[in-house]
């Protein structure tokens, strides 16, 4: 079975622009989460979506938004890009249901560079 797939793999944008990142979860996984990983640091939680509803939001500005589609794929949108948004954006899927911990499976990420 295919793992978590993300597109594009690399992206270069200019300050002030917006970007859309895409994620397809492992088949059967209904939960998708987004993480930001700045070089040299651990991933930071941005959003979790389950059954198309937002279930959690990390400490990120409103410029960050996401959504989940009926097929459980997801998009992460970032508006008004700043240089500090340059990072590896990771998508993870799981079999999570409320109240249960379940393993997160990560994709290989989208490397976003803001110039």
């Amino acid at each position: 079975d295919a793992g978590v797939t993300q597109s594009p793999t690399h992206l270069i944008k200019t300050r002030g622009q917006h970007v859309t990142l895409r994620c397809s979860p492992i088949s059967g996984h209904k939960s998708v989460s987004w993480y930001q990983q700045v070089l040299g640091q651990g991933p930071q939680f941005i959003f979790q979506y389950y059954e198309k509803e937002e279930r959690g939001r990390g400490n990120f500005p409103d410029r960050f938004s996401a959504r989940q589609f009926p097929n459980y794929s997801s998009e992460l949108n970032v508006n008004a890009l700043l240089l500090g948004d340059s990072a590896l954006y990771l998508c993870a899927s799981s079999l999570w249901d409320r109240g249960l911990n379940s393993p997160l499976h990560f994709g290989n990420g989208t490397r976003l560079t803001v110039t």
């Binding site: 978590v4 651990g42 979790q48 393993p103 990420g109």
Partner: protein, 113 residues
């Protein structure tokens, strides 16, 4: 309260050695503690995870030791190989409204031949 502190930042061992990576947490509501391995250009891959009702868990060459009273847990890699050279992250979460993981800052491991 939400932090997971990881040490050391980097580690060099000889092939066959046993690197040990340590993590500490404050939030007693955490009840799930996974370790992830990340190679350059790749996403983190789940290695092994433990819940606080056990003190040790082994999977292959990887062992987690868990000390609930000290709020600490560690990863041991037995018979380390050059192919184990990667960045290792500990993490923690609590079962509840989200599947959010709090990650440590990572340990860059180099296993020399």
């Amino acid at each position: 309260q939400q932090q997971v502190k990881q040490s050391p930042q980097s580690l060099i061992v000889q092939k066959g050695g046993i690197p040990i990576i340590n993590c500490a947490y404050e939030n007693t509501a955490f009840d799930y503690f996974p370790w992830y391995q990340q190679f350059p250009g790749k996403g983190p891959a789940l290695l092994i995870a433990i819940r606080p009702d056990v003190s040790e868990k082994k999977e292959g060459r990887f062992t987690i030791s868990f000390n609930k009273s000290a709020k600490q847990f560690s990863l041991h890699i037995m018979d380390s190989q050059p192919g184990d050279s990667a960045t290792y992250f500990c993490a923690a979460s609590n079962g509840g409204a989200t599947n959010k993981l709090i990650f440590g800052t990572g340990t860059l491991l180099a296993v020399q031949p």
